[in-house]
């Protein structure tokens, strides 16, 4: 398992990175944590002629709060997400999901931006981003633009990133006191992708569900926003019966591929079960539970 030959660049500024990407076009790949890309290169599934390593760009790291938004640099690692007090308070779903990504060593290298931009339906953060209502700052030759997570995930290895663009920052609205969250992930073992996963964030107004987002992991060509399940619950007092109905709706929106984790039937049912679990947990938390 040996990667092919490539030229390596490690720019220290975003401007340089964007310029390099513009120069080399689709012969180049952007390297973040490398735990998806390097194995693919070793298997020669990916053979970029140029590798643009973002690890030396300091402006891509860090978590802060500004203008009512939590801002996460794209090169922030999974373990930095887990360790962040700010996220624990303002966006707790993100570190909770990060704990279920890969393993301790991989979480030291793997980044939230890489996880999102890679477009692998098995990655966890896309569904989480849908659930927290994140938006992404994309930087390219024409400048920066901000897009919503909802609509960003288009297919397997296919996102809203245009040619020459690099994901720079993730913007997340902070939670309120009546927000609850949950991430349920079924996996075969540590380090595996989800057989199915569900990310939920909801806000209550009294007993009524004011807003809700549900993202599903690895049960389609990309992360799925389970809008039909959300519609069942939004504006309602969430009951166990409604949770079951919502899960059925979520299952109907999935389109999983059979692999060694399960066939279509199993994965569909597991999407439903993960949905139920995440919903129950989010509801309990929104009501002030653990």
């Amino acid at each position: 398992m040996i990667p092919g030959v490539f030229d390596y660049h490690a720019p220290t500024t975003m401007a340089d990175a964007i310029a390099l990407l513009a120069q080399y076009g689709d012969e180049a790949k952007v390297l973040a944590g490398g735990h998806s890309l390097l194995p693919m290169m070793k298997l020669r599934f990916a053979e970029p002629a140029y590798l643009i390593d973002l690890n030396k760009i300091n402006e891509l790291r860090g978590i802060s709060e500004a203008n009512g938004m939590v801002r996460i640099g794209a090169m922030t690692t999974e373990n930095q997400l887990i360790a962040s007090d700010l996220l624990a308070q303002k966006c707790p779903l993100i570190p909770e999901a990060a704990r279920l990504v890969a393993d301790p060593q991989v979480r030291n290298r793997g980044t939230i931006g890489g996880d999102i931009a890679h477009g692998d339906p098995g990655n966890d953060h896309p569904a989480v981003m849908l659930a927290v209502g994140a938006s992404f700052v994309l930087a390219g030759p024409a400048g920066e633009r901000t897009v919503a997570a909802d609509g960003f995930f288009l297919g397997t290895y296919w996102t809203g990133l245009e040619e020459g663009e690099i994901l720079k920052e993730i913007l997340v609205p902070p939670v309120t006191a009546s927000t609850g969250h949950g991430y349920a992930k079924l996996k075969r073992k540590t380090g595996d992708y989800a057989t199915a996963g569900a990310a939920v964030q909801l806000t209550l107004n009294g007993d009524v569900c004011d807003s809700i987002n549900i993202g599903l992991t690895n049960v389609g060509a990309c992360a799925i926003k389970a809008t039909e399940a959300e519609d069942v619950l939004r504006g309602q007092v969430i009951t166990e019966a409604l949770i079951l109905t919502a899960a059925e709706k979520a299952m109907a929106m999935t389109d999983p591929a059979e692999d060694l984790r399960g066939d279509v039937e199993y994965k569909t049912h597991m999407a439903g079960e993960m949905c139920r679990r995440a919903l129950r947990q989010a509801l309990a938390r929104a009501k002030g539970g653990a």
Binding site: L38, K42, D103, Q105, G191
Partner: protein, 158 residues
């Protein structure tokens, strides 16, 4: 592309190497610098046999380019004992029979070393979670967990 000159600190010593960009850090450590303690087990970053400590974090050296280590401070198993004294995790692995064939051991030790700095007084569950990036085929883990607990106690007593 021409080879690149990199320098880093390895077990307290300044080292340099000429590497192709695609060369994996594990290969440079093992084959150029002849530090063969870290091993190659799976090459897809699942087994952790190649675990080393880079800038105070546990990293799987099979999934990092050597050029990315330029300027880094690296600790490998060869540097764990200091002044002729075994580190507490090394002694604990011997005392609790936490190794058999020895192939996973350097990676296990380096991860245990760093894990106990991250969490000096872990519960058994903490250990299972915090050491879950390292596979062992021989021990069934039970004695490795005991070894980490023992090392934790030793380090606390120091």
């Amino acid at each position: 592309m021409a080879k690149q000159h990199i320098t880093f600190t390895l077990n307290g010593q300044a080292v340099e190497a000429l590497v192709h960009p695609r060369e994996l850090l594990i290969h440079v450590l093992r084959e150029q610098l002849m530090q063969t303690g870290a091993h190659i087990g799976c090459e897809t970053s699942h087994c952790g046999a190649c675990t080393i400590d880079i800038d105070n974090e546990s990293v799987k050296a099979c999934t990092m380019l050597a050029v990315q280590a330029d300027g880094a401070d690296i600790l490998s198993v060869e540097g764990l004992a200091a002044n002729g004294e075994l580190h507490a995790v090394q002694q604990a692995f011997v005392d609790e029979h936490g190794l058999q064939c020895g192939f996973c051991t350097p990676g296990m030790l380096l991860r245990a070393y760093r894990f106990l700095k991250e969490n000096p007084t872990p519960t058994e569950e903490d250990i299972r979670w915090g050491m879950s990036g390292n596979l062992c085929r021989c021990t069934g883990y039970q004695n490795i967990i005991k070894a980490v607990q023992t090392a934790s106690r030793t380090l606390q007593a120091e």
